[in-house]
């Protein structure tokens, strides 16, 4: 038996995430892993190591937590976290935070300093002030990139988890004045079709499609399967 440690930065990674972003994420994970290994070698208890590492990840905007948190449909931050100590069978959780710099440390205080296991929204914010944890202005958590992602999610009318949408000419944006979506590559029934599509997702019969390698007029009612970031949007449908 010996020590072991694992960290994650979220699942559902965008398949066309730029290489520099992938490297940035790996560098942060490696930094956190080294921090955790050093603590374990110094015999720091597991419960303190998990809090230490998640605090580190919350402080860095690379991943969706703390600073760099995803935004709600109102453009607000509502952070949540939980922690559990398997040895003492104790746990703590918080939800709906918008000013607490490190939600995981408040979850730890719920576990250690309250008779409950879960505090949310106003109650959690009041408890944070009673416990004297670091409070910051909500704008600390909101990044320009996340505002952009929220706009993209709204225009794609979807709810997305844990991936970053890089700038891409394929991103589905707002329809233009003619009711046509911006130029995107679309697959109608698995074939590459014209680069314009009506707002309701149907292909205009004026447009041409490429089927079996031949250019032909789109058939009436042919549905378009949008692409987002270079892959069929169906990949993102679950979100």
């Amino acid at each position: 038996m010996g020590w072991a440690i694992a960290v994650h930065g979220g699942a559902g990674v965008d398949p066309s995430l730029p290489m520099e972003r992938q490297q940035e994420a790996k560098d942060l994970l490696l930094h956190c892993l080294n921090l955790g290994v050093s603590a374990l070698k110094a015999s720091v208890p597991a419960i303190d190591v998990v809090e230490l590492l998640v605090r580190e990840l919350e402080t860095n905007p690379v991943f969706n937590s703390g600073r760099g948190s995803a935004l709600s449909t109102k453009g607000t931050v509502e952070m949540e976290a939980s922690i559990m100590d398997g040895f003492r069978n104790k746990c703590g959780a918080v939800s709906g935070l918008s000013t607490v710099k490190n939600p995981i440390s408040l979850a730890r205080l719920v576990m250690e300093k309250s008779p409950h296991v879960y505090l949310a929204f106003n109650g959690a914010e009041e408890f944070a002030r009673e416990q004297g944890v670091e409070i910051v202005d909500t704008n600390y958590f909101i990044t320009a990139e996340n505002k952009e992602r929220l706009e993209q999610a709204k225009s794609a009318n979807s709810i997305q988890f844990d991936y970053r949408l890089p700038e891409s000419e394929n991103a589905v944006g707002k329809p233009n004045e003619n009711g046509l979506l911006p130029t995107i590559k679309i697959h109608a029934n698995g074939i590459v079709a014209a680069d314009k599509v009506l707002q309701n997702g149907l292909l205009s019969e004026k447009e041409s499609c490429i089927e079996n390698g031949e250019k032909m007029p789109c058939r009436k009612g042919m549905l378009a399967e949008f692409q987002m970031n270079g892959v069929p949007i169906s990949i993102y449908e679950p979100e």
Binding site: A6, V13, L33, P45, I47, A70, E78, M84, F87, Q160
Partner: protein, 131 residues
């Protein structure tokens, strides 16, 4: 979402998970990360932290299921993780990291990728994104 699972040299396990939630979520929406037994769980046998689409992870009680498979069916950590990811969690919905009290580490996901890093005292080491 971010998470960390640790077993220390005493064999004590702990888990922590933190998130901003889903982009464009409804106000007041709660995901799996603060739900003990769904996004986070630890007992005397293992520690688990999950990530992905919270609604699916809650429905599958992902973190507790990994621990229960080890506790009641005697599966290994990796077998439990694989079963929950492949048989319980809806496809394309997320992933998890886990450690066991005897110093093992495991990760599993059914999305396109998961940002993760693992290390053990025996020398195992991994930093990855894709399958």
């Amino acid at each position: 979402t971010v998470g960390c699972v640790v077993v220390d040299s005493e064999g004590h396990c702990a888990s922590a998970t933190s998130t901003g939630g889903l982009i464009n979520k409804m106000s007041g929406r709660i995901g799996d990360s603060p739900i003990i037994g769904a996004g986070t769980y630890a007992n005397g046998v293992c520690a688990v932290s999950a990530t992905g689409e919270g609604e699916a992870i809650i429905r599958a009680t992902v973190a507790r299921d990994v621990a229960a498979l080890m506790e009641y069916k005697g599966l290994s950590l990796q077998e439990s993780v694989d079963f929950v990811i492949n048989k319980r969690l809806e496809d394309g919905k997320g992933g998890l990291i886990a450690v066991s009290s005897n110093g093992e580490v495991a990760a599993g996901f059914n999305t396109l990728g998961m940002f993760r890093a693992c290390a053990t005292e025996e020398g195992y080491f991994e930093v990855g994104i894709w399958q």
